[in-house]
């Protein structure tokens, strides 16, 4: 299976991820992809993502192993940004190629649920407040825990 698992400290083009996967997996009938981006609006001026290097990439690789065991995949890409981002910037992109469509769609759903609440990233937002702006840490929503629990067997 084709794998492309990366942590990027600079900008990346998320739409290349899916198009590369489609080109490199010509026998796949379906390519599903998900792009998470910094939302515009809501007074957020910037987003900063930090990680703990010794375990983050290993965790993403283990998640890719798990996904490729659960689903019948021909290719899987998982790219996560770290560092300083502004609204519109891509944060994460997961793409999966498979023979039949539901494997690809379920694989991106599974990977996103686990990246969201089980991978070692911490996020803080710079929000405008009155005359200035201040950083706020983001905690996972309860919804993220219940999304992940769907996959327990």
């Amino acid at each position: 299976m084709l794998r492309d698992i990366r942590i990027e400290s600079g900008a990346f083009d998320p739409h290349r991820i899916a198009s590369d996967l489609a080109r490199e997996c010509p026998e796949a009938g379906g390519i599903a992809s998900f792009l998470g981006a910094v939302r515009a609006g809501g007074g957020v001026e910037a987003l900063e993502l930090s990680h703990y290097e010794p375990i983050t990439l290993a965790g993403m690789e283990a998640l890719a192993d798990d996904a490729s065991t659960r689903f019948d995949l021909m290719g899987l890409a998982m790219i996560h940004r770290i560092g300083h981002m502004v609204p519109g910037d891509p944060i994460v992109c997961v793409a999966a190629a498979s023979r039949h469509r539901r494997d690809a769609i379920e694989a991106i759903d599974f990977c996103m649920d686990h990246l969201k609440s089980a991978a070692w990233f911490w996020k803080r937002e710079l929000r405008s407040e009155g005359a200035g702006s201040a950083w706020h840490w983001i905690e996972p929503r309860e919804q993220d825990y219940s999304d992940k629990d769907r996959w327990k067997k």
């Binding site: 990680h51 703990y52 375990i55 994460v92 990246l115 609440s117 911490w122 905690e139």
Partner: protein, 80 residues
């Protein structure tokens, strides 16, 4: 000789610094003491994990860090 304690994400703000040195060997009680009361309070939550030498501990209470080890305190994540 020392163990390095790393404060990740929001724990960095609580600790007021990125990292701190502690004497080796370092066990769970020693970590709570070295981390200071604000961080120690968080450490007691089951959502806060501890890694030692690059591995997340399945039971953080069994921490036994040796000289040169890096002990990372991992608060709940918000990736994705």
């Amino acid at each position: 000789m020392a163990v390095t304690i790393l404060f990740l994400g929001p724990l960095r703000d609580l600790a007021g610094e990125d990292s701190r040195q502690a004497d080796a060997p370092l066990d769970w009680a020693g970590l709570l003491d070295a981390a200071g009361p604000l961080v120690a309070e968080q450490l007691k939550s089951e959502r806060v994990n501890v890694a030692c030498g690059g591995k997340v501990l399945s039971d953080k209470h069994s921490l036994n860090a040796q000289d040169g080890d890096e002990v990372a305190l991992l608060p709940p994540v918000s990736g994705g």
